[in-house]
Symmetry: C2
């Protein structure tokens, strides 16, 4: 990809109103642009990373046998009246009327729509269990939108709903999703902890949260360095430095931001919305449900929070927008394009083909955060380039064949 | 994929209120489900095909050097006041207020948002040309939503916007998009014609429409069988059967539905919204724009209209939801699963693992419309299966190795 075409509108000034590093990088680096409070354009750089995150989520969730659907943003009031949420949900629910004065809301979640989708069809235990998910735009009229994509009013979510004949069957799928979430966060190179809302007895909880550790987190969590499991500070009387319950580690405190939630819904919605089935014993029973969410746009910020230093990101392998950033300096564009042509056969390369000074190019490159960089500079005529590994902080003068060897490692 | 997990809620009855074949197939075949008038769930079968259509669009459009972004559905009123469309656009524009009584609309198109995105950054001719596109949910409060996804209120669109220093530069990109559209429709196996709104002089038009030929189309078009180019009946005084202007063919009449539109916007929006740049001659000029749309969800129906007979679809190769449909009958599920395991290594297979009668399985399979089918029936114990090619109308009794050979053709 040629940088001149990839629309990365970087800013020279650091935006003053952005309070956290990830938000500043996204604005300054031309990843996103604010359209209104809590509402953003995803520019090419951010959207390319977002799509990689989405695909990792898809790949891991597909392994649980869940399948993808797409539900509408516009949801009719009558469904929300059935569940009782039309009244209960406050001002965060965005409401509107169509040209015929029928009321709708813009979906902040899809329990109502999916329960209505499944109830007409699933009439027998034979058709259970089923898992349906989507990756879609959600709306929530936050009282105070802030931290960029962290707490927006229009945002990207993954949401999965599973349907079962009993709690046991729900448990099985719940555990599969839990494992999928762990794989997702590991592939995203995120340091995280799982918080049980209940006793800490895994699998027996009604709900668990996946928290990414970072200073700007809104919750304080308590965990042992011997376990991926953690507790909310409120329900925990352990102090930092105490020996952990399992005796294998030491208690630590950290701030965390929630990026995922898994939840045993039970029969709340199916009872209210009359989603029932005939069981093997010929009894009519409400369908047992589970629901599971991941904040896709929030993950983008969480990765930035954990993978940037001095407001410069280095994107982890699985979500890097490009494999290689080729930067020709001075009058070496032609030579740079040759390197680009060659390496593009095997790697997804970005080449800075703009007519800009070296300083501007490096400043922008630091915001783009591709780990491997090839500078086509003054020794280009001899076929020697500077190969940089940002993560290791290494710079080497190498020939193209040597660079290819380095990349193979 | 196991059919028991793939949620295909087929209906036994043909829906009475669906007026056209493609709409009936989508409802009866468990592809979509209505949530409200003109608002639908995309169930797994439809959404899998939709994603294939989207990827074909992406692949071909990426070749024009356009890049993907994602803009919000919620658009602030002030941008629409700038363009004058807040007043002009009638009841089709869905409007709402947030908790602070600020007005928004739900985007039916994104000229305002994208012009605002680009104008802050593109200050010099050096930064032009640029092409930005998205594939995204759009909203239009149709007076009378109908024909399922054909004229919905919430629908999936591809929209591309290009930005140029002059008309000449716009022409270059316009032609590239035009070629990309042709490749897209060819890959989707659609029979289509291009209609110029103007004189018919290709490239000199302000706007062209891509019409898929089908009986339920809303426009009558006039074309020569010697050319892919067509005219609107209103501006054409040729009669069916007349010799065509180029003398190489005969004039035909047909109904068509618009699936794509390419449009030389010029400086309409950039002037109103003050999107200007400094040209090489140091003059401040408005950016010249092009805009281009494809109805993604409408394409799904257009394909169905052209690729179904007696309300049974056969999906074209590039968008088929699965490569192979394996149908075990009676007590041959175990044997069927073996065939499935083997073929899944190379093909995307759907296996009907449900405990249903043969009649039900075939009825559903006819609605799913996978061209190649393997029936695991009474000769399964001898390792012989019925291999069906729905398009050729062929059925052969073959061993697995022979089936693999057939598929390789």
């Amino acid at each position: 990809m040629k940088q001149s075409k990839f629309f990365i509108p970087t800013l020279r000034e650091t935006p003053k109103d952005a309070q956290i590093a990830s938000h500043r990088i996204l604005l300054k680096g031309g990843y996103i642009k604010q359209v209104a409070a809590g509402i953003y354009d995803y520019l090419p750089l951010a959207y390319k990373i977002i799509k990689k995150i989405e695909n990792i989520v898809r790949e891991e969730i597909n392994k649980t046998e869940a399948v993808e659907v797409l539900m509408p943003a516009l949801q009719p009031k009558d469904l929300w009246v059935e569940s009782g949420r039309w009244e209960k949900y406050g001002k965060e629910l965005m409401r509107l009327e169509d040209r015929n004065e029928r009321s709708f809301c813009l979906g902040p979640t899809h329990e109502e729509v999916i329960t209505a989708m499944v109830r007409d069809y699933v009439n027998s235990y034979k058709k259970l269990s089923i898992g349906l998910y989507q990756i879609q735009t959600k709306f929530r009229d936050e009282f105070r939108p802030r931290f960029g994509l962290m707490r927006g009013r229009e945002f990207l979510m993954f949401d999965l709903y599973t349907f079962h004949k009993d709690e046991e069957d729900l448990d099985v799928w719940y555990k599969k999703v839990r494992e999928a979430y762990k794989r997702i966060l590991e592939r995203l190179s995120l340091d995280y902890r799982i918080i049980g809302a209940g006793s800490g007895n895994i699998g027996g909880n009604a709900s668990e949260e996946f928290m990414v550790l970072c200073d700007i987190g809104e919750d304080t969590i308590v965990y042992s360095d011997s376990s991926s499991f953690a507790l909310n500070q409120e329900i925990c009387d352990l102090k930092e430095g105490d020996p952990s319950p399992d005796g294998k580690g030491v208690i630590k405190y950290a701030k965390g931001i929630e990026v995922g939630h898994i939840f045993k819904l039970g029969t709340t919605y199916s009872e209210l919305m009359k989603a029932t089935f005939i069981d093997q014993d010929q009894q009519t029973k409400p369908i047992v449900m589970g629901c599971y969410g991941i904040g896709i746009s929030r993950l983008l910020m969480a990765i930035l929070e954990q993978h940037s230093t001095d407001e410069k990101p280095i994107w982890p392998k699985e979500v890097t927008p490009f494999d290689l950033h080729i930067i020709p300096l001075g009058d070496n564009l032609e030579q740079g394009l040759k390197v680009y042509e060659k390496l593009s056969k095997e790697y997804d390369c970005l080449i800075d083909d703009r007519d800009e000074r070296a300083g501007v190019k490096f400043q922008d490159a630091d915001l783009i955060g591709v780990r491997y960089r090839i500078v086509v500079g003054r020794k280009a005529s001899e076929g020697i380039y500077e190969f940089q590994d940002l993560l290791k902080g290494e710079k080497k003068e190498l020939k193209l064949a040597e660079i290819e060897k380095e990349l193979k490692k």
